[in-house]
Subunit: 314 residues, 2 copies
């Protein structure tokens, strides 16, 4: 069987025809153009999907379903996307709109969930019955696979792992709470702490690396200096990894998955990040004598969105 | 079909014959006598089970399985209980020992898990596909039911919700971490904060209520004074409920269950606790416009251990 997978992001739309094993047969992309409103975006999304089907040498009739991953959630009661900050969407009837152009079952899920599903089908967590995928980006997103299937809970709001509070009373979060994990484990956290460092210690190597402009600091600046042995950035990265591991140990205590997959921008720190996490996590695990989740880096990166979205319909 | 359910605690063993609907047909109990070692305890447990079967007018042949709930976990790889502080057990081959006396399949799980299963079969969460049961006692235990079944994760260590860190760097925990939820949401937390209050403010009503002995403070003292309107205990209880809700919102974000059931000692505060939680939780929920778990009080209390243990074999 074949499936259409669509990765809908704030700047670009990617679509592909994917087989049962999560292999992309053919793919294509176009800009999102969010400013045009959801109807135009969904029309383009459908056109891109039809184009990629044609390019693959197949017909819509050969497709079993169409899956869409986006930076939001679907309300399972309505088939609408209640809100989606990156796209400026509010209460968008995405399933209904897609059906104007393509007569196939439409499945929609969060982009982190979709990436987690992709890894569990064709990536680093392939074969694992239970796995948790984490995007360490602007925020922290989660894709939870339980029993080989996407776990969305009873109301479609599960797996919001970035808004798990790990430091009650800590950094204020965009969600209204304070001390959410993503305030400590995202790329944004590394940037914030880097800026604080530059303010507190103007002679630090980090400020030199950005030519004296704290606003230019990225997570990569901090990580690269930590890798190079700069003590200030090393301490900052160490504290980042500590907070990352606090949340990971919570995920072990609650989901007890076989694999935890680290994805998103910060995961590009690669083996350096993985070694730091693997060194710090064991002491924080509750059942120290029992096996627990192995932590791995995401494998599919760029194609995860297409593959995972397609697999929603499997 | 009929099942034997055994509730093994630090002071007493309770056993019952239970039907498919979680109804106890007959029950009995005996003291645990932990000091005699695990072999004697398991022998008594088996004898009690056989006695209760006979009392019910049935035979062992009428029983489908035997389930045991205890304050620990079973290592699914070995069928052993790796450790169990309350019973002083270490690496106890419980399944093997039980088979010396009764030839029935033996299922073992954590007491909080078992109580959660009981509530989901015959209690307040009956009919819910996904539910989380929480014991607010000396510690905080959890029983997670997903898809109508006990969720134990990939290595049998899931649902250790009491050791989810909610205040990184906070109160030291017996587990070696600091800031575990149970340091803030257990009866022990109310007692600790009550003692601190008495130390900081010797004229407080709480110290009078215990005749000047802070060691005599129980969670009930604090709750009763809060109920009666004492401002010091009301503030302490309010802070307790805040931390309880931090963890509950994490459970919503991660498990998104239909029902969260509050059990254990602190839940005897009843409607007073429930009202406080229901007033505070909504502002902390991430998806404020979508439905989420309702919070309820446990219903089965004393019999939950027998019923839930029996239902392990269903």
């Amino acid at each position: 069987m074949l499936y259409i997978g669509i990765d809908l992001g704030g700047t670009g739309i990617k679509a592909g025809v994917v087989d049962d094993n999560g292999k992309i047969l053919c793919k294509d992309s176009c800009p999102t153009g969010v400013e045009r409103g959801h109807e135009a975006v969904i029309k383009d999304m459908a056109a891109l999907a039809l184009r990629v089907v044609e390019k693959s040498g197949h017909t819509v009739g050969d497709m079993k379903a169409i899956g869409i991953g986006l930076p939001g959630v679907l309300d399972p009661r309505t088939g609408h996307v209640p809100f989606c900050t990156n796209l400026g969407w509010h209460d968008v009837p995405i399933v209904e709109e897609m059906h104007k152009y393509i007569d196939l079952p439409v499945f929609v899920d969060n982009d982190a969930t979709v990436a987690g599903l992709a890894e569990s089908v064709a990536g680093v967590s392939a074969g694992a019955v239970n796995s948790v995928f984490i995007t360490l980006g602007t925020g922290v997103g989660g894709g939870v696979i339980l029993g080989g299937k996407v776990f969305s809970g009873s109301h479609g709001v599960a797996s919001e792992i970035g808004h798990m509070v790990t430091v009650a009373g800590g950094e204020p979060c965009t969600c209204g709470n304070s001390g959410c994990w993503e305030r400590y484990a995202s790329a944004t956290a590394l940037i914030r702490e880097g800026r604080r460092l530059c303010e507190a210690k103007p002679e630090t190597a980090l400020l030199k690396a950005v030519d004296g402009d704290p606003k230019a600091i990225t997570a990569k600046h901090v990580i690269d200096l930590a890798k190079a042995g700069d003590p200030d950035c090393a301490a900052l990265f160490d504290n980042y990894v500590h907070h990352l591991c606090v949340g990971l140990s919570n995920l072990v205590n609650l989901y007890d998955p076989e694999v935890i997959v680290l994805g998103g921008g910060v995961s590009h720190a690669g083996q350096f990040l993985l070694d730091a996490v693997r060194a710090k996590l064991p002491a924080m695990i509750f059942y120290k004598d029992m096996p627990y989740a192995r932590v791995e880096l995401a494998k599919l990166t760029n194609d995860a969105g297409i593959i995972g979205a397609a697999m929603l319909g499997r």
